[in-house]
Point group: C2
Chain length 135, copies 2
DNA sequence: AAGTAGTTTAGAACGATTTCAAAGTAAAAA
DNA sequence: TTTTTACTTTGAAATCGTTCTAAACTACTT
């Protein structure tokens, strides 16, 4: 895999390397993986002496996500969804509609689990299988 | 397991069986499992000839959730969280702080997966392991 | 250099959820 | 019982994260 600078990465993804996108790319695409929110990012931009409209940050993150430069951590939707099924179980998620379908616990077999970090205990495992409509 | 009416269920959970909680319990705790939002529930309450402040519905759902009468489907938080790690991978979630920790894909082995519903294709599997601080 | 298509922006708008403080109600105490 | 106390409900306002809008701007093409 050959080296590529951020300008090239943006172009390759079909995105114009604007000033704003370069600022964000330079913060995010440096080889060190991390989780962050739009607000986190705005704070970093600000404290690096730059500034950017929050709308631009959202635009940019959406574009980056759609191009596969970053991911968005799965949450079933922006709205809280409750479930009367209180047993441990899993879900299919229709990515298009946000609809959830239960998967019984026995339908999934987690063969190997990672070591739980020190000081913590496992308080539940949830598997989400995302579904795309077949073409 | 012996039969219990909803008033008893509420009392057993340490909740006063108020008129409003009984209306909600009668809709939700009838043995048929389902997913729903606060708004869904309000519509059902309204169309059953009752009415209830949305604030009460949220209060009530939170209490029910905290008592284990219902679950809330896991979403990492109310805020969108992005991730620079674009490979398929999984997460630990510190339930207290909302912090996410990456789990490499190889650390988890999904031995048995359920059949994908007709017309859909699997577009990604995400495992979330919830963590509680150890006492 | 001029044109055009895509981008940024501040601010308004939005939807979901929480907070507020006052009025109401269930349970406990007298 | 009645009184007291603690908990609950309420509508309205506030808040939070996010999206929309429409005008100004900028990268790329001609």
């Amino acid at each position: 895999m050959m080296l590529m600078n951020n300008k090239e990465k943006l172009r390759k993804a079909g995105l114009r390397p604007t000033k704003q996108r370069m600022i964000i790319a330079n913060i995010l695409l440096n080889g060190i993986n991390r989780h962050f929110t739009a607000e986190n990012l705005q704070n970093e931009i600000n404290s690096s002496g730059n500034s950017m409209s929050i709308a631009t940050i959202y635009n940019c993150l959406k574009k980056f996500r759609n191009c596969g430069l970053i991911k968005q951590v799965e949450s079933s939707k922006e709205t809280a969804i409750f479930d009367t099924n209180i047993d441990q179980h899993h879900h299919f998620l229709d990515e298009e509609t946000g609809e959830l379908i239960d998967i019984e616990n026995e339908e999934i077999n987690l063969f190997k689990l990672p070591e739980i970090p020190k000081g913590y205990m496992n308080s539940g495992v949830e598997v989400l299988i995302k579904l795309k409509r077949q073409n």
